[in-house]
């Protein structure tokens, strides 16, 4: 499984765009990049997944450069309710292994 590195924490203000970058230098050819969000006392929730270039859904955008050694989760115009821990995971291809390991994640604090 590819190891990921994310900032431990980030602060932002309501209405700002937040970008969280994840490094994954040893990503494999068939690996996908998946981001989860976790609120206190809840299980993580899937946000977005991508393989290359850019992916956008109603919640976030995911930017992946051509070398795929990093990725950036972009949250547009955050609100207080976006305060959570965000996890970047690499792997999980449909033919890949089954162990899903979460790292420490990035704690995002959104202030009023």
């Amino acid at each position: 499984l590819a190891k990921t590195t994310q900032p431990i924490s980030m602060d932002s203000y309501e209405g700002q765009e937040v970008n969280i970058t994840c490094s994954h230098n040893n990503i494999a050819t068939n690996d996908y990049i998946t981001w989860y969000q976790q609120f206190p006392s809840q299980g993580p929730r899937f946000i977005i997944q991508g393989y290359k270039t850019k992916v956008t859904n109603e919640v976030a955008s995911l930017f992946i450069p051509a070398d795929r050694k990093s990725s950036t989760l972009s949250l547009p115009r955050v609100s207080l309710s976006d305060t959570a821990v965000y996890y970047c995971l690499v792997g999980e291809g449909n033919t890949g292994g089954f162990k899903t390991i979460f790292g420490a994640g990035t704690r995002l604090f959104v202030k009023a």
């Binding site: 996908y32 206190p40 006392s41 809840q42 993580p44 899937f46 997944q49 890949g96 899903t100 994640g105």
Partner: protein
């Protein structure tokens, strides 16, 4: 959306008691997982299952055991609970997405051992 259920949501018990945390899903997913998480700390994988009659230990050593007799159920058991077992236990299933698999989590079971 997610049909994965964990019971009990909260449990307070005394040391030495045997407890079973239930996890059930109605989606027919083969792969299921148990994670342990202390407040404000990382998620640790403690058990996972490929399917019926298949269980594996995760990366964090745990005194708990699991069974997978039916696809829908993946219960976790502690034979003799201790205060060190106090934690939140999260069950998840793995489903295929457009590109790769993603996990869907239950609401969790918060265990307190006195």
């Amino acid at each position: 959306e997610a049909d994965i259920y964990q019971t009990p949501r909260y449990l307070v018990i005394g040391t030495g008691k045997k407890i079973t945390l239930e996890c059930s899903q109605t989606m027919g997913h083969d792969k299921m997982y148990w994670y342990q998480q202390d407040p404000g700390m990382e998620l640790h994988l403690i058990h996972y299952s490929y399917g019926v009659n298949s269980t594996e230990k995760g990366d964090l050593s745990s005194e708990s055991t699991v069974s997978r007799i039916r696809t829908e159920h993946f219960p976790l058991t502690l034979e003799s609970a201790r205060p060190s077992h106090t934690s939140q236990y999260l069950c998840a299933t793995r489903r295929a997405f457009s590109g790769a698999n993603v996990l869907t989590f239950g609401a969790g079971s918060r265990l307190t051992v006195l």
